[in-house]
Amino acid sequence: MKHGLEIIVAVVLIAFAAIFLIQNAAIQANLAEGDEPWGGADGAAANYIEEMGYEPWANPLWEPPSGEIESLLFALQAAIGAFVIGYVFGTWRGSKRTSS
């Protein structure tokens, strides 16, 4: 099978999305007023520590002022990475074509 691995990846991704949708429906149905589902695990750990009575002794030097700006910077991070991957793979593919 030439594309066996691609098929496995596609099947797993679809299964992952399906599990998310089912889980999300269950969570939304039992959601208390004001609760926000699907928060970050990093934040959950921080909350757990703060519940133990710990006060962080330092704060981030700079915080994204809003969720939009945070997602902008995350998208920028992904875009930089995707650009590099695409550029290198494209170069390799192009050089292979011209040399063969």
């Binding site: 750990a45 520590i49 945070e70 998208a75 992904a78 390799w92």
Partner: protein, 231 residues
């Protein structure tokens, strides 16, 4: 896996800086050697670094109802060894600490140890072991990348449990509590990360097997076989 800024008390944050530092120093030496001796491997290094960038920016929802990210360090560790992977992880952690308030400067040592040292070391060990026993490279890369991801989060749980032992039950109770927050969320994400990195490895084999042979990731013989199909 990001321990947030200020969330590790003294002396833990200093301890993790001291433990991580040698890996980064070794990484810079390894990088210098690579740049001098294997210039044609640099695009591959860029791909490995870019992978950490892309994967660690994706926050994926997982079965526990919370979101977490893949780490992407497995690819760099398998291709270039754990020390260079530490440097790649350092770049991403600094970006996220400075611009995204994800992680922090005081916790950089601890976060670097989990994501840039423990994960890559495990990935590299699995890949070497797989090579020794003649297991298919796609299988070993899947496990190397998936376990690098899980180990990263287990180590984060360990670091937090050491710094914050529970009043009742001590270190173990705390480790289980943090493990429940991090490690279980991580299992589905680790599977996806392992598969995606195996897929990228396939494309590298198809496009530039000679680099992999040159830096000693696989033998010419195996590369020829993998290009034909699964085996």
């Amino acid at each position: 896996m990001h321990i947030m800024e200020g969330f590790l008390p003294s002396p833990w944050w200093q301890i993790w800086f001291i433990i991580s530092a040698p890996f980064v120093i070794m990484g810079f030496y390894a990088l210098r050697k690579l740049v001098r001796e294997n210039r044609e491997a640099l695009p591959l290094l860029a791909v490995a670094g870019a992978f950490v960038f892309v994967l660690s920016s994706l926050k994926l929802p997982s079965v526990t109802g919370s979101c977490s990210h893949p780490t992407g360090t497995g690819l760099g560790a398998v291709l270039f060894g754990p020390f260079i992977a530490s440097v790649l992880a350092l770049i991403v952690l600094v970006y996220q600490a400075l611009f995204l308030a994800h992680g922090g400067i005081s916790t950089l040592g601890a976060n670097l140890f989990s994501m840039g040292v423990a994960g890559p070391v495990v990935a590299y060990a699995i890949f070497i072991a797989g090579k020794k026993f003649g297991i298919n490279e796609y299988v070993t890369i899947f496990f190397a990348a998936a376990l690098a991801n899980i180990v990263t989060y287990v180590v984060t749980s360990l670091q937090l449990a050491l710094a914050f032992p529970a009043e009742a039950g001590g270190f173990m109770a705390s480790f289980i509590a943090f493990g429940a927050i991090f490690a279980i969320t991580q299992i589905p994400l680790a599977i996806i990360e392992g598969l995606v990195i195996a897929l990228v490895f396939k494309y590298i084999i198809q496009l530039k097997p000679e680099i992999l042979i040159r830096i000693g990731v696989i033998t010419a013989d195996r590369a020829a076989k993998l290009r034909e199909g699964w085996a």
